[in-house]
């Protein structure tokens, strides 16, 4: 169990080869069930054809469309270095919300670009979202190199165009790799087809990535999730909690001492970031939504802050319209007071003809006002208290990141 795990997402424009790459990764690492391969082999044999990877992909694709067994979303494989989880982001219909749901769990991303087609609408949109959600470990895969005769010039041309586009979004990919997922070039194997390329394969690049950054060095934040009689429960989002420690309960600012840290069948005197614990304080004046903090390095407490909001629901939002805002375990009625800047997330063009409504797939830089004080942090400093969702009609309609720099 010394091996670690990494979650990554594969994004890119539709038909630029996401599912082929998933199929190829699973195939090359031996994770497509042998029964599937045997089935396709026997059909090939019956037809007097040699088994090829592309037949397998077509077969899996067909199954996927019929929703029988979606083996392309059988999303686990491993290398000698670690175990991987491929997060299934969007399906055929490129819903922004699926892309965001997937990406919000990712520690790394592969952005796929078709070598023949180049940058397309969703390439830009997805790159934008990667930056917004702060996915910093990025591989750009220039796919379908076989379709352009493995020409180095074409690769360099796309690479240049991409890098300048990504730079405009503050994204700097760790690798730009020419591949053919269909033919299996530079996924696991370095092949002669691309002998002019000296960089790593996709798997080597993935293996070089780190798992999520440590949140232990940040100050203690423990949003209260619930209370079972005298036991307060919640997840230590950042920092460390010690028995006997003096803490401060925000937003009220009440000081308290940690009497006990409880876990079933475990004696504990300290809890680390990511741990879900029970604790007993010397005060009962605490409820869900409160955030237990260390007494120095306090969070921001406010009813008014700047944020970037990305809208994922067909029903948009008007300024001054009340909704529910959820941030960690806090939940408050809130509204958008002012839209400073509005952008179309696919074209990345600024919308200038309206400043009172955010619609589906649009991103707004806004000012939010809440009915009650909220405990927040800047997203880039502390993800855990710097991100929120907006709930409308009982569904999550939007995500947002806090800007309190």
């Amino acid at each position: 169990m010394n091996k670690n795990h990494l979650n990554f997402v594969i994004v890119g424009h539709v038909d630029h080869g996401k599912s082929t790459l998933i199929g190829r990764l699973l195939f090359d690492t031996g994770f497509i069930p042998q029964v599937k391969i045997d089935e396709v082999k026997s059909v090939c044999e019956a037809l007097g054809k040699q088994f090829e990877f592309c037949y397998l992909m077509d077969y899996l694709e067909e199954e996927r469309e019929k929703n029988i067994t979606i083996d392309t979303t059988q999303t686990f494989f491993k290398t000698d270095r670690r175990d991987y989880v491929i997060i299934d982001a969007p399906g055929h219909k490129e819903f922004l919300k699926n892309m965001i749901t997937g990406t919000s769990l990712a520690e790394a991303a592969i952005l796929m670009v078709d070598a023949a087609e180049g940058i397309r609408e969703q390439t830009k949109r997805h790159a934008y979202i990667l930056n917004l959600l702060d996915v910093k470990q990025l591989i750009v895969a220039v796919n379908k190199m076989d379709k352009v005769n493995y020409q180095r010039a074409r690769f360099e041309e796309i690479k240049k165009e991409l890098l300048s586009h990504l730079a405009a979004l503050n994204l700097e990919p760790n690798y730009v790799i020419p591949i053919s997922a269909y033919q299996g070039d530079f996924i696991e194997h370095k092949t002669e087809n691309l002998n002019w390329y000296n960089g790593p394969t996709i798997l080597e690049a993935l293996d070089s990535f780190k798992t999520l950054a440590k949140t232990q060095e940040l100050p203690l934040r423990l949003p209260v999730q619930d209370k079972y009689r005298e036991i307060i429960v919640g997840q230590v989002e950042t920092g460390v909690l010690n028995q006997g420690q003096e803490v401060i309960i925000m937003p009220a600012g009440i000081k308290a001492t940690v009497k006990e840290i409880k876990k079933w069948h475990e004696e504990k005197n300290r809890a680390l970031d990511g741990e879900n614990v029970g604790l007993i304080l010397d005060t009962a004046d605490i409820e869900r939504g409160d955030v237990i903090c260390q007494t120095n390095q306090l969070p921001t407490v406010t009813t008014n802050f700047k944020a970037t909001v990305f809208w994922m629901s067909p029903a948009g939002v008007k300024t001054d319209e009340t909704f529910i805002l959820k941030l960690a375990t806090q939940e408050v009625p809130a509204k958008i007071k002012k839209i400073h800047k509005l952008m179309d997330s696919s074209s990345l063009e600024i919308i200038t003809d309206r400043a009172d409504e955010i619609r589906e797939t649009e991103v707004g830089e806004v000012e939010i006002v809440t009915e009650k004080p909220l405990v927040i942090e800047d997203f880039n400093y502390m993800h855990q208290l710097g991100r929120f969702v907006i709930v409308k009609n009982e569904d999550i309609a939007a995500g947002g990141i806090v800007d309190v720099k």
Binding site: M1, H5, G30, F31, P33, Q34, V35, E39, V40, V43, K49, Y55, D58, Y59, E61, E62, E63, R64, N67, I68, T69, I70, T73, Q74, T75, F76, V85, D88, G91, K93, F95, K97, T101, S104, L105, Q225, D226, Y228, I231, V233, K262, K263, W264, L272, G274, E275, N276, G278, R288, M312, K326, A328, R387, F388, V389, N393, E394, D395, I396, G399
Partner: protein, 267 residues
């Protein structure tokens, strides 16, 4: 924290969240390894005493070892166990002796569950499915709303991000909550080993065979295996390539060679 700790913590957070958001909550316990692990996590989440009912949908066709296991641990762990059956279908004579696997599964499991949800007015059900079990399950959310006829609109699901889950029902009748969604089969065994979670003896090899997944006796087949300890099962799974539910007949797709041929682009 190691990987198993991460899995455990995420599951506990979700179980506690489900209990906070939905007081009319119950957990489905199929007596298999996954839902027993989920039950273990619930005991951890609530410091030993699970504050909601544990439901066993009894098709009456389970293995005798499963009933024994259920009754022993319901007692030992002081569970609020609720056993429900589709009595009406059983009276009509629905059973594997006379009906196909699909009908039995639908009547004795799905309909029985619907009846229970209505009767107990349940708003949320904790279910121990995992993403890696079956292709379609990879599309699931942690909090997955359903209509009463269990329709699941997977093409148009609400987004789910940053530990924020669907916390109130709109037009849907109940929500399925999946605390084990991110676990894999081998994770379950590694965790069972670490935590010393009791496991049904049917999972261990006897005479060269063991059950890898447990369902109704008439439609559940063992696999060839000599793994008679948790450690041996873990080593077996490290190399095995066949899908976990290969022994579960109701999952078998209808083989259609014509379609497969077409999928290869020849006809």
């Amino acid at each position: 924290m190691d990987y198993l700790d991460q899995l455990e913590n995420k599951s506990i957070y979700i179980i506690r969240e489900a209990y906070y958001q939905y007081k009319k909550l119950a957990m489905l316990w199929s007596i298999g390894k996954d839902s027993t692990t989920m039950l273990w996590l619930a005991r951890k989440a609530f410091f030993g005493t699970v504050p909601f009912p544990i439901i066993h949908i009894d098709t009456t066709y389970k293995f005798p070892e499963m009933y024994q296991f259920r009754d022993k641990y319901a007692r030992d762990w002081q569970l609020n166990l609720m056993v429900t059956r589709n009595e009406e279908a059983l009276k009509r004579g629905v059973g594997y002796e006379t009906h196909d696997a699909f009908t039995c599964s639908h009547e004795l499991k799905t309909v029985a569950l619907q009846q229970t949800i209505v009767k107990e007015n349940l708003k949320a059900m904790l279910v121990g499915i995992r993403r890696d079990e079956h292709g379609i399950r990879a599309k699931e959310r942690y909090f997955s709303p359903r209509t009463i006829d269990f329709k699941w609109n997977y093409n148009d699901q609400p987004p789910e991000l940053w530990n924020q889950y669907k916390s109130k029902l709109g037009k849907e009748t109940h929500v399925r909550v999946h605390p084990l969604l991110h676990w894999t089969e081998i994770d379950i065994w590694r965790y069972a080993k670490r935590e010393n979670i009791p496991v049904n003896k049917l999972y261990f090899a006897k005479d060269g065979q063991r059950y890898r997944s447990l369902g109704c006796k008439p439609i559940t087949k063992p696999i060839k295996s000599n793994a008679d300890t948790v450690d041996k099962i873990i080593s077996e799974l490290e190399t095995i390539k066949d899908p976990e539910r290969a022994g579960r007949l109701q999952d078998k797709e209808q083989a259609n060679t014509m379609e497969k041929l077409r999928s290869l682009g020849y006809m």
